[in-house]
Point group: none
Chain length 159, copies 2
DNA sequence: ATAGTTTTTGCATAAATATTCAAAAAATAT
DNA sequence: ATATTTTTTGAATATTTATGCAAAAACTAT
């Protein structure tokens, strides 16, 4: 029992290290990550890194300049947020209408929350509040005029 | 100018369709997505699908049952929370003890609330309730045996 | 301790994905 | 219209990632 937790700890350390490495560096491939790990003293191959990434549920995202990089899921937002959310809006929005001081956006099923988040994050001017169901987003503006203007802005945004 | 927007529209339609398809189905590979698109009348190859996925900034995430699937970015934030909370626990927890059906966690000052939230969010099995002061967390389990087991789990979690 | 079980890992390779390059289509300018 | 530039695409292929399998390590029970 003298080496009880040796391998286990080593793996845990490695997983933690992977999270740190991809947080601190732009890691484009598993091969690159493997090199980072080796340089920190871990004896590891791409195969294991692939398994680790699966276990950590890391994701590979399109980054600036035609590159890809690994990231923590849900954390990719800090990079290139505008492009990303614009893309989400562009492809998920079906219709945009304005009614009184509301703008009503219909989306493909399940995408309303994502669109709402996109709209909030993109921080369009004068948005008072946003609420989303499954395929519908309500955006509250100060008045009818602003709602109309915002609907137009949104339409331009999604093409 | 007679065919002004023909290709453009076709691509946009395809991108929209891709978002819909991955929203409605569990799409594991680009090859599979290509087949879906072909079955909907798009004349497309894996190479183009790869480019579309990059443009849409879709992500491939680890799914249940050793599978992968494509998803819209920003929809999987719960996993990141997990990683982050594990880190919180790892760095803030000082001691873990069990007394009767309680597990008592001592933390660095001011971190108990955070640890409590982490424990709740991580949703360890059979936790009945969690309460936190400034540097102490009480975790209520159903009985002494479960408290002992949970204390052990927690210890492993924080290393 | 020893035997049995589970987990982790590397190697080799299968599978999947990204990209180069050239051609065609589309958009733009004249 | 024609010429020019930009965008889109497929085929082939390079690159990257995932996995079957066997061996080793770690854990568990006795």
């Amino acid at each position: 029992m003298q080496e009880k937790e040796c391998l286990k700890n080593s793996k845990k350390q490695r997983l933690n290290t992977i999270v740190r490495i991809i947080s601190e560096n732009s890691v484009e491939t598993q091969g690159q990550l493997t090199k980072y790990l080796i340089s920190e003293g871990f004896d590891v191959t791409q195969a294991t890194v692939s398994r680790d990434i699966k276990e950590l549920r890391l994701i590979k995202i399109a980054d600036r300049g035609d590159k890809y990089r690994y990231a923590l899921p849900g954390k990719e937002s800090n990079v290139d947020i505008r492009t990303r959310y614009t893309a989400v809006l562009t492809h998920a929005v079906i219709t945009i209408q304005n009614a009184s001081n509301l703008v009503v956006v219909k989306t493909i099923p399940g995408s309303a929350q994502g669109c709402a988040m996109a709209i909030e994050t993109l921080d369009f001017d004068r948005v008072v509040g946003v609420i989303a169901g499954d395929d519908t987003v309500f955006i509250a503006m100060n008045n009818e005029k602003e709602a109309a203007a915002f609907a137009k802005t949104l339409m331009e945004c999604v093409n």
